[in-house]
């Protein structure tokens, strides 16, 4: 995902990890344990893709996880899985909007 470098410039994006659906770690910005996050989010994304198919959502593009302090945005692009750590959580809609406009196929 070539847009990774621009997205991580947003102040609310505290870290980002790029992996694939099998959990292979491909890249990370401001994240110490990208390997584990890529592995877990690859597993989660694979499960969500299956859930999306069950729900008839079409090709899954994004999924948001929102906690009371932080949030995470999963961005799926073909075989890639981008995980953005967002803080504060209320900044999630803004980050998602930015993803929609800056990453091809997410609009």
């Amino acid at each position: 995902m070539s847009a990774l470098s621009t997205i991580v410039k947003l102040p609310e994006v505290r870290g980002a990890v790029l992996g694939d659906l099998t959990g292979v770690f491909l890249d990370a910005v401001r994240e110490k344990d990208g390997e584990s996050i890529a592995a877990v989010m690859g597993f989660v994304a694979s499960a969500l893709v299956q859930a999306g198919e069950q729900l008839g959502l079409g090709t899954l593009r994004r999924a948001a996880l929102c906690g009371d302090a932080r949030a995470a945005l999963l961005v799926l692009d073909k075989k890639h899985v981008l995980t953005l750590k967002v803080e504060p959580a209320k900044a999630l809609p803004g980050v998602e909007k930015h993803v929609e406009t800056s990453i091809p196929g997410q609009g």
Binding site: G23, V24, F25, L26, D27, D33, S36, A38, A39
Partner: protein, 623 residues
Amino acid sequence: MSPSPTIPSGAERVDLAGLAGQKLGNYRLEQLVGRGRMGVVYRATDEALLRPTAVKVLSWAVAEAAGQDPVHWFLSEARLVARINHPRVVQIYGVARQGELCYIAMEYVAGTSAEALVARQGPMRPEVATEVLLQAASALKAAHDSGVVHRDVKPGNLLVDGSSVVKLGDFGMALGPPDARIGNARLRVGTPYYTAPEVWRGEPASPASDLYSLGATYFHLLTGRPPYAGPDLRAVEQGHLRGPVPDPRTLRPGLPASSAELAMRLLAKVPGERPASAQELIWEGRRVLLELQSAIAAAPAGAPPAPRAPEPLPRPPAACAELRQAFGFVRRPFFEADPVAPPYRGEPFTSARQAILAHLSEKAVPAAVLAGPPGSGRTVLARGLAAALAGSRPALVLDLSRADGPPLLPRLCRAAGAVEASAHGSLEALVERLGEEALRCGSVPWLVLDGVPAGPPPGDEILALLSAARSTGAMKLLLVGEPGLSEKLAAGGAPLPEVLLSPLPRDGIGAYLESWLKAARAPAAPPIVISPDAQLIVGLRSGGLPGRIDRLAENMLLLAARDQVRAISSWHAWAAVDRERWADRPPAALPRRPTPWPTTEVVAVIDACRRGAGLPPWPKGAP
């Protein structure tokens, strides 16, 4: 040189327990090894033939108290036993009188009694107790065929040598005084704990009462105590006469039903409800033994022997507290795969299983080799095959990896329920026994010999077995060992078909790990994720051998449990060791992750692994 001390002659009374060092005929008495109702027994050396001998010296006091002519009594016992020429009966070498002492020289059994074994080690495993029962039953059959009733069968009269061969001794009660055969029960019974009800009632002892005593003995071997262990003689008598037949499972709950039911049938109050003869008991005992052996074949390799506290078979080992609490493991992961339902059923096991079955289903192929390096999963596969076959044909599994174990052929004989006529007659007895089973089941029995030594030359016993399998067709052999075993066993002839168990392929390692995680945890436990880089490192370090993967993986899990993470990363795979298991180590003693991770050296290794798997290199600049 001083003359040897000799036994004093004349009418003076001799302290029978103080004869060590003295000489009776050719026999130098060395050590007092037992006391019986009729006298004492010494271990001695036959100084003419230079062989160990047991010498039984008569107690005058007992003979006189019984009003017997001791010489007649002794000679009668010797003649009686000499009539029973059987490998499971202690043989008589000679009988003589010296001065006022009479003695019988007999076969010395270097071992101990079954009673002492149970006292020292606790109840026997059911299959071991049943083997003892079968050997004693064959001795009784020989005695009964010769018209002799033993009348004192008990654990103390079953002598077990270092190779687990059992011999029935002390036929002293088999004749006894004539009035002891009928009449006052307290005078004529053998040992109260093992005496049949009809004998307590004063009826003559019979082959059926010997079988009752053997049943009480079997009960003792299985449970560690006789069936009626009352506080006094009257309570014991009442138990035998009127007490309900005790179920050994009340003392040992996990005992297999077949074994318990056989013991109870032998203890029936009415002689007609017991097995009709020693021969019938041998047949029933063999069936029970085969059932028990089949259950063992289905048990995990390396299952702990002889549990003192009885447990049902088989029970997977529990996970340690750290793995139970952190990850929801209900059994120990990566430890002792269940051969019947192993967690992993993929390649190369499926192909290897099919290849073995294909080879051994050919009539002209008497044996096949399952070869693989240690840790390749060959034992689990072989035991699984035997367990799967056990329903349709007899399948015995023997582990040959113990260098200190008894010789192979006698072990196989006992496992199969065959009674060998001599040390050299094992193979004939085994072939005959397996032939009987083949006729009974309609299919040729399998013998699975695990851990066949690789080093040349192969054992004579294995070559003899192979030769017997080829020429008789009475058995199929599956020999499990290291690659190249087939050529070593060929001995110049055509090599046996060999199925090579290959290491797990790279993409099979992830499936292997996943299958274990699924099999060992509660269904609702949250997932554990193993990163692709961790899987690559496990593959590299294990060489794809399940035995090494198992140790690495369990140690990885222990590290992750200590770190309280559910994602297993390259660091866990790098730090875990494959030479030992860390389950007993305190968490604080486990290695700590360095910062930063991975180091340059590790990145180089990961990149090499990734290249081999067709993946992009570790991201530059990360972490």
